[in-house]
Amino acid sequence: MKSDLTYNDAFSKLEDLVEQLEEGNIPLDKLSIKVKQANELIAICETKLRNIQTEIKDATKTATTRPRGKK
């Protein structure tokens, strides 16, 4: 699975897979592959989410500087 997917792309693919799983549309012999793909997508999404959280935390620190004109 390509890890250069954006979070939204990865999650969108994951949502498709979940929908198929919920509806029972996946033949049993394809189930293992689909579940494997879903788990990979979950891993990508989790990594990206963690990175986004860290980036936002850093941005929050930067944004505490005062506006121009203030002592």
């Binding site: 979070y7 994951l14 979940v18 033949p27 189930l31 579940v35 929050t60 004109g69």
Partner: protein, 400 residues
């Protein structure tokens, strides 16, 4: 003989001419004038010139003059004695202009003649309504001319003057100010004090453009300062023109056509605090008026405070929204994880189901199975190997 006779005639004639003293003659003039004008007062319209105010002795000497097409047609000396000196003070207070040469007034006078001091008109009252009317007329004419001659940059809507300058957006943050004011004036002090000691502790870079704010040439001097600022316009966020405290007179420079036109077309927002409460000057109307220097400075402080508040609000909203979005994403992901986990073949086996394989392929379609086929039944912990001996169709759907 003839020459001698002529000389005698001349002598006799001189002898017969009655001689009087100058003082006697002037007394007669004085008496005549007094008889004619005693107790009578007249309202006269004239231009005042050679005004000499003696504030200490509370007297003012001047000449009353009349012109016709630029030619002087009448002149008389006039004087405000101490008991009428308050008329001048009142004039300056009400009309907001200095009592000085060149002003046209209507005044109540008494005629007085003195054999030493000559003819004088004692001024007892000034018709303020006339002066105010004249000033207002001049003001209206200037305003009409501004609108007529600058249709693109000065317009009148519902009694409000919209100019290029007063429609310029005010910067969100004000830091660099060009200040036009009189040196060592109350206006300068008040403005600087407010910008330096504001409650929010904002710092401003104030560049002073000092000039005379009052007097005949003030409008030209202020105009020069504006031109100077315009040359380095990128260095300033706003311009403040302030004067204040003390004198409430001589707002005439701020009604000048050229100055008002320059203000209306100026590329940096101009704020005025020229310290008067009765009327707006024309410059006020062309710019943004704040009445006093302190109010102009306060506006700049409040503008920055407003911006900082907005920023804090946005920051808070942003962080809340981001937090919410991240939490939602996490919930959605957890939900997907749960569903995927439940759907995995291992989870199916864990729940007591079995998977049948034949030749290492999961059997989905029973048609692929025949009698004697070798099958593997995958359970949670064991695999059962078997050979098919019989195949039957289910008579009804299994209810499991």
């Amino acid at each position: 003989m003839l020459a001698k006779q002529k000389l005698t005639d001349h002598f006799l004639k001189d002898k017969m001419t009655e001689q009087i003293k100058l003082s006697e003659l002037l007394e007669q003039i004085q008496d005549t004038i007094q008889t004619r004008f005693d107790g009578e007062a007249f309202w006269v319209e004239a231009q005042i010139m050679n005004v000499r105010k003696q504030a200490q002795s509370r007297r003012c000497y001047l000449t009353l003059e009349e012109y016709d097409n630029g030619n002087k047609t009448a002149e008389a000396r006039g004087v405000f004695w101490a008991n009428y000196y308050n008329q001048i003070e009142n004039f300056e207070k009400v009309t907001k202009q200095i009592f000085k040469d060149g002003i046209n007034i209507i005044c109540k006078v008494r005629v007085r003649y003195h054999k030493v001091y000559g003819l004088n008109l004692d001024i007892m009252q000034i018709d303020l309504a006339h002066t105010l009317g004249t000033l207002e007329l001049e003001r209206q004419q200037t305003l009409e001319r501004l609108v007529k001659e600058n249709p693109k940059t000065i317009q009148l809507f519902d009694g409000v003057y919209k100019t290029f300058n007063n429609r310029l957006p005010i910067p969100l943050v004000i830091g660099k100010i060009a200040l036009i004011t009189a040196p060592n004036s109350d206006g300068q002090r008040d403005f600087q004090e407010e910008t330096k000691q504001n409650k929010h502790q904002y710092t401003f870079s104030v560049s002073e453009f000092l000039t005379t704010i009052q007097g005949d040439n003030a409008h030209k001097l202020i105009l020069d300062q504006l031109k100077l600022i315009e040359k380095s316009k990128d260095n300033f966020d706003v311009v403040a023109i302030v004067r204040g405290g003390g004198s409430q007179t001589d707002f005439k420079p701020f009604d000048d056509y050229e100055l008002a036109k320059c203000v209306a077309n100026f590329p940096i927002p101009i704020f005025t605090g020229i310290g008067h409460d009765r009327n707006q000057s024309i410059v006020d109307l062309m710019a943004r008026e704040q009445k006093t220097p302190t109010k102009v400075a306060s506006l700049f402080v409040e503008r920055n405070f407003e911006f900082e508040n907005k920023l804090i609000e946005l920051k808070t909203n942003l962080f809340d929204l981001v937090k919410e979005q991240l939490e939602n994403a996490k919930k959605e992901l957890d939900n997907a994880k749960r569903i995927v986990k439940l759907s995995s073949p291992q989870a199916i086996l864990d729940r007591g189901f079995a998977i049948i394989t034949c030749n290492n392929k999961i059997v989905v379609d029973p048609k692929t199975i025949t009698v004697n086929s070798q099958l593997q039944t995958l359970l949670k912990n064991e695999t059962i190997h078997s050979t098919v001996t019989k195949k039957t169709k289910n008579e009804k759907r299994l209810d499991i």
